[in-house]
Subunit: 341 residues, 2 copies
Amino acid sequence: MPRLAIIGLGLIGGSLGLALKAANLESLEIVGHDREWGVGGRAKRLGAIDQDARLPEDAVEGASIVVIATPVSQVKQTMKDIASSLSEGAVVTDTASTKRDVMRWAKEHLPDNVNFVGGHPIAGKETSGLDAAEATLFQGRPWAVIPSVRASEAAVTAVENLVRLAGAVPVIIDAEEHDSYLAAVSHLPLLAATALFSLAAESPAWPDLAALAGPGFRDTTRLGSTNPDLGHDISLTNRENILHWLDRYIDELRRYRALVAQGGALDELYKQLAKVQTARDSFLEKPPERPRSAEEVASVSAGQAMLQFMVGEWAVRRAKQVEDIAERRVATNEPPRKDVS
Amino acid sequence: MPRLAIIGLGLIGGSLGLALKAANLESLEIVGHDREWGVGGRAKRLGAIDQDARLPEDAVEGASIVVIATPVSQVKQTMKDIASSLSEGAVVTDTASTKRDVMRWAKEHLPDNVNFVGGHPIAGKETSGLDAAEATLFQGRPWAVIPSVRASEAAVTAVENLVRLAGAVPVIIDAEEHDSYLAAVSHLPLLAATALFSLAAESPAWPDLAALAGPGFRDTTRLGSTNPDLGHDISLTNRENILHWLDRYIDELRRYRALVAQGGALDELYKQLAKVQTARDSFLEKPPERPRSAEEVASVSAGQAMLQFMVGEWAVRRAKQVEDIAERRVATNEPPRKDVS
């Protein structure tokens, strides 16, 4: 049976398992592993996985698709752990928030006969862990897909279909662009929200500020509740891009400061606020078209296509096993040939 | 019948009417006015008000409590319009986002025989107007209450009860503190969110950024969809406080920048992120106690207390009318006395 492995069963890995199970694909076996004791068993009871593997290398055994859903700080070690157990032709993907380092690690640590395609579902929430997992986490959310140089076209398509099957929208992009853009729309917002919260919370007036804080303050600072490990990992693996966007953000705030400060510039401030309101409303209604955005594919066919790919890989592997058996049979009937050179 | 007037039937005025109606107080008549044609009639059909008055001065006629729920830019003119029609002893309050100017206008334009108590429900949303109004808008939200020097204790209590009746939590505070604190938890977040959005949306990479923007970006920039009139009015009436907090925010962002930039400081960054996560979680669970926070009062008794206050005012006014009638009767039976001085 086609097998998919998920290493790391936290919010992302757990939600992916639940989403794939909810897609009701017959004949897909999901094997999971989490390094924290007890999480795999709980994921199985929740119906996120079919089999709980004791070790990452056990989980990937015979899997056509492997999803590394650990924190970015564990991705490299996981690649090393599973490298020698991966099936030939397997598709390996991940879910880490930054991609440049991940692509390099894959090149260094995964065997040449597997296809690595980076992935990043942009669908976190401020709670983490398996208990926060839900089948609808990725619904309608972007999921960046980053093909490695060595990955086959079929492997990229398989990951795109996996993404669609989870309910998300695949966004094909290269690693450098991904990290720069994510710094703008994810890592900078995280730091902006955190700084906004700490500015208020570390002020002597905090009890009064807290009493007067409404839903606007709560939403704008929501990312301040992000798991600090994530913020730390992001800053470690995407430092230059984050610094670049932080500097640009400080400049942008200075521009608004000038508009507020000058009495005569208040009309300009009004125009700027109105411009942003309009732009944000149209963004919510319909995001601007990307020049190279992929064609829309229905999720039902995505499931079928992914399974076909997996069955294809499985068939190839089965054929190879048969060949090996045949070869061994031949070997036992013939005496081993001596090296003639 | 005790009468309450609401001038301005947008998101706030409309929601207040709906919330008070939902509280099912018998014998409370709500008279509304909106300067935009047709809004008053629609508010009546929605059940937010009982009577639609053509002019603000008509709406406040005989009202024990008057709520000015117009944008801050119209508050002064509204005070001038209603000044001569207010009943003696009436309680006048407002809902504007900044308070220093409003308190000054009340002192200058309202008669000495009414009680002005400033108010500010901290419960907006990014949509505005009557159509966005809802009875639950204020539920559990803070509502700043700012007593003027001349307001009676009974008037302050009446406004606190009105606030509780709307489902909100009254926060008694003075105007200067209010404006400074609101700059921190409301006006700064508005500008921070707007700048974060415009930085991304005005970048040449916007189509890619938009494709990769997840729920974190949406929430952090939500206030960018605020009605630009509100942002403009706030900046006009609270400039100094906003500039102060904007400068402090830029400094705070620089502090985070330093933590990201220095490799060795990443542990410090982790500690800071963890500190904010913990602080925000405990803020959401239970905000810190204000030293002078008022005692909690059940909303049922709040309704009764407000009505008693209003009936009291009404009884006093009725008694005064009777007195006037009696005086006039006496006057018709006696020849007018000449001034003897």
